[in-house]
């Protein structure tokens, strides 16, 4: 277990974390500000991947695909907010869960009808293939490094928007006391639509970047959404900072657990026992972490409303 190996696995963890962050950021904003549990967030991730791949194939340009994925999910997100979610704000969480679960089924079948059930092919442009040489002789896939860079840039941008702009001020105000914001003459409905749309575009960004490494097929959003919920619970509902820290923790813990838990166990247990316990424990690790956070800090590491 050399230093290079650990460093490379840390990078892998950060990359997974960044991916989770893009999904968690939108979801936590919607949950924190609009108080809506949106299970269909994974569907937006899926739509981002499908739109980007289709547009890239049609135009023969990866960047056109990226633009189409972002714009498309932004529009679909705002449309969902206008058509479905507006009716749900005053309902309790169970109704929201039921309705957004219905949206999952709707979008999965819609995608299966439009694109078929077979997994989609996604090509990677030549300039994103290849490797970066890491110190110590290891190499890291360039595309994964780009994902890390994009994710961190989005995190910085979000921080700037939320803390330094008028829109961010409204978002924070809306999270603390929406009735007061509305009373001060702010069009809270429009604000909700915009926030939901941008949350959707972030999910679309995660989806269009995931298209080249994960399988693009109907229902792809639900697989990753479970981990995103863990991130939000750990980070604290409604907090972007919490989403970033939670996502990085989950990404790194999950990756290191999968990489090193079995060899570590093998030093104290028999190899057969390590073979059974290692993978079982590694897949439980993030949920154990979530339970621990819930026990010690029930509101998450960075609760939005102190």
């Amino acid at each position: 277990m050399t230093f290079t190996l650990i460093f490379e696995q840390l990078l892998n963890g950060v990359q997974l974390g960044v991916m989770l962050f893009l999904l968690a950021a939108g979801l936590t904003l919607v949950l924190g500000i609009m108080n809506v549990v949106n299970l269909a967030h994974g569907s937006l991730y899926m739509i981002g991947a499908y739109l980007a791949i289709t547009a890239a194939q049609w135009s023969d340009s990866y960047l056109v695909g990226v633009a189409a994925g972002l714009a498309g999910t932004l529009l679909v997100g705002m449309l969902i907010e206008l058509v479905a979610l507006r009716a749900l704000y005053r309902r309790d969480h169970l109704d929201q869960v039921l309705a957004t679960f219905g949206l999952i089924l709707f979008f999965n079948e819609l995608v299966a009808m439009l694109w078929g059930r077979a997994a989609l092919f996604a090509s990677l442009p030549a300039y994103l293939q290849g490797h970066l040489e890491l110190p110590g002789g290891a190499s890291y896939p360039l595309y994964r490094a780009v994902i890390i860079a994009v994710g961190l840039a989005v995190a910085a941008l979000l921080w700037y928007v939320v803390t330094r702009t008028r829109l961010g001020m409204l978002i924070r105000a809306g999270a603390s006391n929406r009735a007061m914001v509305a009373a001060l003459g702010v069009n809270i409905r429009l604000l909700y639509t915009v926030v939901f749309g941008f949350g959707a575009a972030l999910a679309g960004l995660a989806g269009l970047m995931a298209g080249q490494i994960y399988t693009v097929q109907p229902g792809m959003g639900e697989l990753i959404l479970i981990q995103v919920f863990v991130v939000i619970v750990i980070g604290g509902i409604g907090s972007i900072r919490g989403a970033l820290v939670g996502a990085l923790i989950v990404g790194i813990v999950d990756t290191l657990g999968r990489a090193f838990l079995k060899p570590l166990l093998a030093t104290v247990l028999s190899s057969a026992a390590a073979n059974t316990a290692g993978p079982a424990l590694a897949s439980m690790l993030i949920y154990l972490l979530m339970a621990l956070v819930l026990a010690l800090r029930p509101a998450g590491l960075f609760p939005a409303r102190g």
Partner: protein
């Protein structure tokens, strides 16, 4: 208000009537129940199977065994309880004469007792659960596929014969994953440097691939069906390992995943009993007409399903359309007297085919609609029997 209730009741009654079995309908029609997975991500396998059944019906002039045929399709949603429910519905409501299909071992194990318990024949066209080949074998259960661990056995034999000294093994952490590795080890006696079991449905394999590269093994064996395989292979190729460490697999790269993998699949080795390029007339006709009708290359899932309908056809012909003669049907099926896509073969005592297994390689192929196709490299097993037929008490 009263009127609306009345209308609703009338509509409900009409709907219920539509579901009632048509009493006294004349039996000169054959009804086949076909269970597969048609919804969700796994629905692609069901599509291959259903399209193949439809092609078989076309080839038979829509008359299986000379009888007007209706195939009732059922969706098990990848769940054993739903499979049982669908089977019961088909047996009681649709009055099917014979059952076929089923992709998953757990669905098959739950459903077979329901079908055979009702005195009907079940023709399994994919799932290869070992208990059904061994102690739980049944007179009324036939398979047109294989037992689960036969393909990894073939891969193990090939790796052993080609003198590959060490192997790194990866599979999902569930029963089939462990069964595949057990099958591999039955014939592969070299050094397994590491055995990794990953979470079922895992998305990202970069952590495992990094560990693997650090060990620098001579070869890698994986079992990652469906989306897991697409993810693993994409990430393996992106890590630059395709040219460095040869990747061998079972049930990972096939015609359901090649459209998503394309060039990333090229160079992949698989072990299987059949390939779309196999030089057997019945299979060549099936593949050519399938491509013409549906515009894509069929997978082994489809080939086995096509084969299942042809097996039923041969049995119905043998009993001259009297499908109520179950004993006669079973006796006819045991002869395997039809043009199989795998060529001539015999059923073992446990009603599983005794058949050849091949090493396949994914290569660029301009003749295939996908641009990449599996080609047979060499025969690994001749007339291979599964490891469980000895535990089956059936003699005939």
């Amino acid at each position: 208000m009263r009127k609306t209730v009345q209308y609703a009741l009338a509509a409900a009654a009409a709907a219920l009537l539509a579901f009632a079995p048509a009493a006294g309908a004349q039996q000169q029609k054959l009804k086949i129940g076909f269970i597969t997975t048609l919804s969700g991500p796994q629905g692609i396998i069901g599509k291959h199977m259903k399209d193949s059944v439809e092609l078989a019906l076309d080839h038979l002039g829509r008359k299986v065994g000379g009888l007007d045929t209706e195939v009732v399709y059922g969706d098990d949603q990848f769940k054993p309880d739903v499979g049982v429910q669908v089977a019961e519905q088909m047996l009681k409501r649709d009055n099917i004469d014979i059952m076929a299909g089923i992709i998953w071992s757990n669905v098959m194990l739950a459903t077979v007792p329901v079908v055979t318990g009702a005195g009907k024949i079940m023709v399994g066209t994919n799932a290869g659960a070992s208990p059904l080949a061994g102690a739980q074998c049944n007179e009324l259960y036939f398979s047109t596929s294989w037992n689960n661990d036969q393909s990894p056995e073939a891969m193990g034999k090939y790796l052993q014969d080609s003198g590959i000294k060490e192997l790194y093994v990866l599979a999902p952490n569930y029963q089939a994953g462990k069964d595949m590795v057990a099958g591999l080890k039955r014939y592969y006696k070299g050094n397994i440097v590491e055995e990794r079991y990953t979470t079922m449905g895992q998305l990202d394999y970069q952590a495992e691939i990094t560990q693997l590269r650090a060990k620098n093994p001579k070869a890698v064996f994986i079992f990652y069906p469906g989306g897991m395989g697409i993810q693993f292979i994409r990430q393996y190729v992106q890590a630059g390992l395709r040219e460095k460490i040869p990747l061998y697999s079972v049930f990972t790269v096939d015609e359901t995943t090649i459209p998503a993998l394309k060039d990333a699949a090229v160079g992949q080795f698989e072990a299987r009993f059949w390939s779309a390029d196999i030089k057997i007339p019945a299979s060549q006709k099936y593949v050519a007409d399938f491509r013409k009708k549906f515009g894509y290359t069929p997978s082994f899932y489809g080939a086995q399903s096509y084969d299942g309908i042809m097996l039923i056809d041969s049995a119905v012909r043998a009993v001259k359309g009297n499908v109520k003669d179950t004993k006669g049907m079973v006796a006819a099926m045991r002869k395997a007297n039809y043009k199989s896509i795998r060529g001539d073969f015999k059923f073992n005592n446990n009603h599983h085919p005794i058949q050849d297994f091949y090493l396949l390689k994914a290569v660029k192929d301009a003749g295939a609609p996908e641009g990449v196709a599996m080609h047979i490299e060499k025969k690994v097993f001749e007339d291979h029997q599964d490891a469980y037929h000895g535990e089956c008490k059936m003699k005939w």
